[in-house]
Symmetry: D2
């Protein structure tokens, strides 16, 4: 249920509504907007009689939200949410690019790539310290040491850090270092991790599961918002289909649908979305043209020797080329690749 | 097998090679190119000894083609094939747009839409006279009457006609009227129809089947080329997946892969690819940005009353808006939407 | 729309209803049943006023059929249709097995396999004279010569013949020889072929398309029944998914759903359904246990040298073993593998 | 790498090999079998020189395992692993059935259902105390209270308990009560949870992810075995496809493939595999016929009022009917539904 306040409603009126909702055993989420304040109501397992709230002063209307998601919905919040991460803005005219290697392999590797992607125009640095791997015998990431390296990357380059939290045990360590905590595709429905991430105090990048519907993706985001974290960016990264010419099938129409249904920004990861280096550039352009809110691209200084995901990583020159194409395209589309962050 | 001639090889040398191949009971497909002439060899069910050909004068090399497709492959022909249809050029810098209703419903409807899409910048008019319908009780198209209307559309607007051939019985009628014969997704592996379309004397638009791999699409095109028709344009129109927010999942990476593997042009149909009007514009932009060779878009003057596929058809104004966006984008990408054809 | 007659309705009453329907410009399909006669009404593009028919004498009720399929639906005909093919009965307690090679390769091959599958208990012989092949360069079947061989197989073994019709050109030739005409998966939505097969005078085996929904399969069967052919057996043969351990994913729940929605029998093809010899036996057992109306199994005397589909063909001994297992299982399930047909 | 000892190799010889392996910085997994002892070697990131081990006394051969999974593979252990859970035996001639509600809703509900499924022949009771739910607002299970109820179910009925562990925080609580810890489909690649479950001291039921390949399923099991837990039962529960007549598409050929590649038992869950009550019985029979090692079926005393998954739950009578069918079928297949456990 959603309570929409009149545009001139006072803070006291909002507060009265909030108290009435909570007195009914429900939870009220006050969401101030430029045009109006809305109050999301959750916790109702059965139908609620809306009249006792509809009659309060300052209330414009009470809306039954029939979609299963509430806090993430456009009905709840008509304006697009802008999520700021270390100066990068997702959800506005800006078009931030997150770039870096699949995994942090060493300080030299991470710093080298970070300086290069920064020079090419990336705003944020990605790199996994904890890696989810299909095989228990594959390289699992450098762990804490990797986090320490990421800290140094930010100190030296000024790039904000996006890195994945694999489990509730390491989430806090990750959140301490990360400017944005990534929840991976395999964990999209790890609800315990989502709840914790909803309380971690950092923006979250939530990747779509390999066979998740858009509704399921939004419901997983709902877990984050229900815990009070509204700094959520979604990520389309390809879904699993019969097609065998790419590792996954990048589903760009999901961007359009998410932006219709939800106020949250959504970025695209053409590296996982295709799994093949030569497809990354064209699909990055397509993702910008479809109107997404930013990109996440894997870049490695020596892709053929990367410890993971080399086949889909761009080399440094390849990334520069893609950024140049994106820059040209962005201005036509009324978007801007953001300026490189100034050194700290 | 592929015989590559030296760049200065004479017509007589090429002819000698051709004769030697045919003397072996095989079929030779001479493919002149700007840089070199290649001769495709088909019809071999077992391995062939290449030395008797490799030793002929003017032969540069004999290449074993390991991919199952031969005539459609880049190895066979390094340069991109340009297919011209009533002035529209697929496979070059131009970016032709095919537009029109799913089905021809009446002369007034077809002419009205044709004038409108022409004004908005479309180069070719699409409209089905014979419609493949899931239900035997649905509107099946106007048939011959529809073809007659299409003839008048061309006469009045100068727009070339793209229309579907459903079966071998009606293929000839269709080919007589059409500037480009469409083979629909459901018929992508109707091999008898493909063979006939390969001999119909008109360019063919071959749509990818709903769950066809890229290799299968290229093998179906191979049927057309094997019959001597090289004027083939492929079409990505979405594949069937679990995703339920769109009618199909548009697979834009297929464009990249087709262009790598084959010299044939490929266009994108965002109308069937998404099945929802509000997704057509964004995905049309994405298709242009990914680098495809043109678009096919469903347009109706009154989409909500269309006899078929109304949900995915743009209205006239909607189409104008999309064309304006594409025009701006194209120039950034070094492409041109073609000028409207002059009246006949 | 469906008109249900009273159980004691006379032939004259039925005829009056039929005439009234046709006078309305609609088509009446009289379907006599053991319990009641039903009259299917098709051809209505808009809503019809049912009262003028409901008031005729002998009419029990007029049912709006909301599902898009009509003639194939259980609502139209509550009893299961039994399709008889050369003594084999599909749709009853019997459990006929169709067996034979993917393609007829020679008379010796076909006769050898036919005698062997007959000895093992198969009721019908399958073998393709016209083969749909992904590549134009693959073996396309023996054509007319293959049909002649099939004729001899029946003469010598008494086995009824199931063989595929690829196109409208060859349908008549095929229907002349075949006891049951197969429409392959790739042609499930070749509506022109379906219409012709609906008038060919022989029972039809209609295979599910590679990514067809159950509703689409039933709608394609509707094309056959709408032309007057009620001798239709459906076939589940696996659908295309991301899974890579089998060629297709056999969808056995489709059997349950088809039997609920339709009165038509449905058989299972575990050879195409799995694409791997070692999976055929277990899935054949599963198909019997799920309650399907028969099986179609590929058998070859020398699978590793088969001209097509060798990887999924059982050898003669393998087939014998599977039949022995099926025989034991069938009796537990109240089903009977039919006796071998007596020699002619 | 896999070291196969001679059949008469002594314990001392085995120990020497083990020490040599560990001296190389690798991990040795000694796997005694009835016929031979094999020693799995893991932890090698690069190639190892096998000669130093092949020359030790008692070693028959050193096998390079090319498949990415090692400890779960048939090459590692030729005999099928039998997992015993509270008297139920998975992996042998027995055919145990796990039955119960999706979620524990109350003590009365759980006990009532448990007595009923026990009477019908189930060996183990399933019921979720912690439920993974797409929506944060759905019933999430009774938690600790649910576990206490499950404890009472076992005390009163003698049925072993199968219940899901959702996260590492609650795994220990769950493992304390459960006779078998379930890892759900959404957590199949929650590698932190898998590692913990590998050390929990209880047998594990690992469900296949919604779009996991068989290889990925086996790799996830490898995580469990790599931690020392060999009491692992896999579960096929349907995969996500385009098909819309069932909630998931049950992939029974996966059973055949898992049993070829791995020594681990695999059961089938036709309730999640189909999502519709009327399909559960037929698919349960099919799963038995395909040769799986047991079943997991959702049963509720009042399915239409179940707090979760009611649409796919059998009622008590429905379950009895299915069990009667399975019992008849099992004996034909040389399998036995196990006797009901004696009261404690």
């Amino acid at each position: 249920m959603l309570v929409v306040m009149q545009s001139g409603a006072s803070a006291a009126q909002v507060e009265t509504v909030r108290q009435r909702i909570e007195a009914m055993g429900l939870k009220a989420h006050v969401m101030p907007g430029a045009e109006r304040t809305a109050i999301g109501v959750t916790g109702n397992t059965g139908p609620i009689d809306p009249t006792s709230i509809a009659n309060l002063s300052g209330v414009k209307e009470v809306v039954r939200v029939t979609k299963p998601f509430k806090l993430v919905s456009r009905e709840m919040r008509a304006e697009s949410t802008v999520v700021e991460v270390a100066g990068a803005r997702f959800g506005a005219a800006e078009f931030p690019v997150i770039a870096g290697p699949c995994a942090v392999e060493s300080e030299a590797q991470a710093l080298g790539i970070a300086h290069a992607v920064r020079a090419a125009g990336a705003q944020l640095f990605r790199g996994g310290a904890f890696k989810p791997r299909t095989s228990p015998y594959s390289f699992q990431g450098l762990g804490r040491e990797g986090l320490a390296i990421l800290k140094r990357v930010r100190a030296e380059t000024g790039l904000g850090i996006v890195t994945e939290a694999l489990d509730t045990e390491t989430l806090e360590q990750v959140a301490e270092v990360a400017d944005m905590v990534q929840i991976g595709a395999r964990n999209m429905q790890n609800f315990s991790l989502l709840r914790r991430a909803g309380r971690c105090g950092k923006p979250v990048l939530l990747k779509r599961g390999m066979s998740a519907t858009v509704e399921e993706l939004l419901m997983s985001a709902e877990y984050l918002l229900a815990e009070g974290n509204r700094q959520v960016v979604l990520c389309e990264r390809g879904v699993r289909t019969f097609a065998d010419h790419s590792r996954n099938t990048l589903d760009l129409s999901a961007v359009v649908v998410v932006q219709e249904l939800s106020h949250l920004p959504i970025v695209v990861d053409p590296s996982h979305g295709t799994g093949r280096r030569d497809q990354v550039g064209p699909l990055a352009r397509a993702a910008l043209a479809v109107g997404c809110n930013g990109l996440m691209i894997e870049v490695h200084h020596d892709p053929d020797r990367a410890l993971s995901d080399g086949a889909q990583s761009l080399g440094l020159q390849g990334f520069e080329g893609v950024m140049a194409e994106l820059r040209a395209l962005a201005s036509t589309l009324g978007r801007q690749l953001q300026p490189v962050p100034s050194f700290p």
